[in-house]
Symmetry: C2
DNA sequence: CTTACACCTTTACGTAACGTCAATGTCAAG
DNA sequence: CTTGACATTGACGTTACGTAAAGGTGTAAG
């Protein structure tokens, strides 16, 4: 089946402007342009738009969505499984807000009292903790870890070659970490291998290497929910194991 | 308890910039300014911020939130009950998206097939139906009903006096409609009274009266989920009854 | 007492994800 | 062959803030 902008837009519930914008930023390009310059979308584009809308539903910004879905090693099925988990979390957050509304109603009726800070439970978005607020910002400023968070900004100045090497390294790290988790020993040879691979990845990402920064990042992986979600997806405890291995390798004391 | 910007922001999980912006647009003004020019918030402001954040969670734009919470006849308890309903709807929408992800996963595994348009169920935001798309736009352009939707734009050119008269009328309409729903007869005297009150309301809102436009708006009340949610909140069928009463009054044929 | 440091202020420009014209070309139907 | 719904590319507008600049305030520690 083939679609013009309007047909696709109507089907997906978005405007033609949105589709043109997605084309403009390279997020979703039409399968082809016909002789009159019209955008024509095919089956592949429909599926991709669906993925895009799933990510958008989870408040991922378009730049990040682009980095994710245009990544040559993008795995649609894994992404869908990820959506499932995130959506369940989102539903729990809504349940928390619903509970808050119920409590607030009860408090206005005098059936109970609420502390001021309780009035915002469920409405606060994340904010790992005060420590992260304080040191997280500091360490990011110091070592430019923001560049790691926002993949696109980091990748912008990177050659396609380096990008692929990084992807390969990332996959290897995953595999090696899966082996290491079985031993559960951060000093084991395989865990140290993972730490070393991660060091190589850092070097590519930052353009240089710094032990202290590496250790700081490792701790952040454990503290920051987004990172643990990434590393602990399949095997819980992976983030902590990687951190401990990096601590050993860099000679960092806890 | 009193709060400075940072304390309140930290408690509610928002930035100080956001609080300053809310002050700037008149959405949430501090209780007082101290001798050094610092913004000081009190208990009332905390509760108001909570209401604001509930509305924001439901994707209401700040301009509309302002129109709602600064309205002198704003009823906090009713608002909370409304939030409850909207949040339950939102949870259902998330459930729909979850179902979609599950189906999509099943289809990638070949356990079932999906039509292209099924791939977007739950992701489409509203779009009542094609009819609304077509005639809704037309009627809005013709009669300026967009001005009714976005209260602020409509109220901008309206004197405070008219605004209060409209609010009084709206309350009366509610009361009379509640009586009318008991008879269930759009031709009944009380239902016709409601239709007449609504006519007066329209006249104030639009600055003029037009039978055809009034009938069109009545149909929109039934078709548009936002309107039915408003009119049918307590008593289902109210929107349809009002429409039928207006049809009779204006001599419109279905 | 002053030095540090985390607060606070206003002013002002930047950003994301489109909405909304404007000006113009295309195509199927009557 | 005109009409009306479609398409195109600019280009400027909007919302809800982020972010930096330049400076005043409050308190704890040296």
């Amino acid at each position: 089946m083939e679609y013009t902008v309007q047909k696709l837009g109507r089907m997906a519930g978005i405007s033609t402007r949105t589709l043109r914008y997605y084309d403009e930023i390279g997020l979703l390009k039409p399968a082809r342009i016909n002789s009159s310059g019209y955008r024509i979308y095919g089956a592949k584009e429909v599926d991709r738009l669906q993925q895009i809308m799933f990510y958008r539903e989870l408040d991922v910004c378009l730049q990040d969505i682009k980095a994710i879905v245009t990544n040559p090693s993008f795995d649609g099925v894994k992404a869908l499984q990820g959506h499932l988990g995130e959506l369940l979390i989102k539903r729990e957050q809504i349940d928390a807000i619903i509970a808050n509304v119920r409590k607030t109603l009860a408090s206005t009726e005098g059936r109970m009292t609420m502390l001021d800070k309780e009035k915002f439970t469920g409405l606060k978005k994340k904010m790992v903790d005060e420590n992260e607020q304080k040191y997280g910002k500091e360490i990011r400023e110091k070592y430019g870890i923001d560049a790691v968070e926002h993949s696109n900004k980091a990748f912008k100045n990177m050659s396609q070659e380096n990008f692929e090497r990084m992807n390969n390294l990332a996959e290897k790290i995953h595999v090696v970490l899966a082996e290491a988790i079985a031993t559960a020993d951060p000093a084991s040879q395989v865990a140290q291998k993972a730490a070393d691979l991660h060091k190589q990845w850092i070097t590519l990402a930052w353009g240089h290497y710094d032990k202290e920064a590496h250790a700081g990042l490792a701790q952040m992986y454990v503290d920051d929910a987004r990172f643990t979600a990434y590393y602990d997806k399949k095997l819980p405890g992976t983030a902590a194991l990687l951190r401990d291995a990096i601590y050993i390798m860099t000679g960092t004391e806890k």
